[in-house]
């Protein structure tokens, strides 16, 4: 029985990686930078996306795919209210998005009009780490109230990150959080990781994030234009 199980899981993973490649090609072709945004439940993923839209919206079109385990459109509705296209994907209880689900989301978005696609994964520090979606960036939000030991306890998700966002720093005065201990844990797993320290309530740190992201969006657009000229 164990052998059967392993075989099936391997087939699913291969199918997922194949679909992830197709998603990436499609996003590259459209010149859309894409980010897989992961975090625990309640770390502020949707608030961070809304703040990112607020910062970048004058210059860029941003699409959002919202992954949820239930048929609720709370998050997707907030994105639509912010004037950007959003698609909600109900995983039907599954603990993560996969590349096939993202493909279904891409099918419903106006890709040629977008500059940036943010995929809000299911709130979970374990399962999303195992599924490549085909996005260009893996981003994790760590939230101050979650505590400073999370890199030590959930190492897998920290290993494959391109960017770390440390959110809710406005709560630092009210919570025991040893930033040195936290950063040492991250450094051990993912040395020199690009990190932004922000608060979506006060707006602190959002300027640096905006500038970094705008540069990445421009780079993807330039890459796409260069490819099309060839």
């Amino acid at each position: 029985m164990t052998a059967n199980r392993v075989t099936v899981v391997e087939k699913i993973m291969n199918a997922n990686d194949h679909m992830a490649d197709l998603n990436k090609q499609r996003l590259d072709h459209a010149g859309v930078l894409s980010a897989n945004l992961m975090a625990s439940p309640g770390s502020g993923k949707t608030s961070f996306i809304l703040k990112t839209i607020e910062a970048l919206a004058p210059d860029y079109q941003i699409g959002v795919v919202e992954g949820d385990t239930a048929p609720v459109t709370i998050d997707a509705d907030k994105i639509l209210a912010a004037g950007m296209p959003a698609v909600q994907i109900n995983t039907g209880g599954d603990c993560h998005l996969d590349a096939v689900m993202l493909k279904a989301g891409l099918d419903q978005l106006p890709l040629p009009q977008l500059d940036l696609l943010i995929v809000e994964n299911v709130g979970n520090l374990v399962c999303p780490a195992a599924f490549n979606l085909g996005t260009h960036l893996n981003i994790l939000i760590a939230s101050i109230p979650e505590g400073d030991d999370k890199p030590y306890k959930y190492p897998a998700i920290y290993r494959n990150l391109d960017v770390l966002i440390i959110n809710k720093i406005d709560l630092l005065p009210y919570i025991r959080f040893n930033m040195d201990y936290f950063r040492q844990g991250v450094e051990m797993l993912n040395p020199n990781l690009t990190t932004f320290t922000v608060s979506c309530v006060t707006g602190e740190g959002m300027d640096a994030w905006k500038q970094w992201m705008a540069a990445r969006i421009e780079a993807k657009k330039a890459e796409c234009t260069a490819t099309k000229r060839l």
Copy 2:
């Protein structure tokens, strides 16, 4: 391929439920009340266990099984430092404990000496909900900084609860959290759920929790004694 996958998952679930029954029989026989403690990462599960030990330790022996996705003993070490027996289970990356893992934990604990067993599940609001461990109580910690929309977004875990702990209420003044909206979501999924509102920092609400838990421990002991007399 889909049919294969479903079959294998069903077999695993049956095996899990069978082992869960054996775990429960074993705990009943030893007269140990047991609780499966679930929550997001960073909701304060370990702090809550430590406060529970502090409250109940003069009268009761409390054993703890710590589920982690990595070979770290941060949490188990805290329990040992509090003078109670603890076993760490490394799920090897899996996003939840299952009944077979709990059996391995029970094998290493002095069950006849215990009055209460607390099983700290992996920090996750999705996967643990699907696996019965054989414990007597399913307890969820919801943490104020996670936000008031969690029952709406992670309904499955709220449906099968016996107790809800609302933790970190000391942070209420600093966070937008609509308690009525949160409670409505819970009530919809699990009417009349036993709920305690606590802070592990200030100790608020811990007395009511202690009294409720002590009564449950006594009831389990009485049930065990009555069974042995028959």
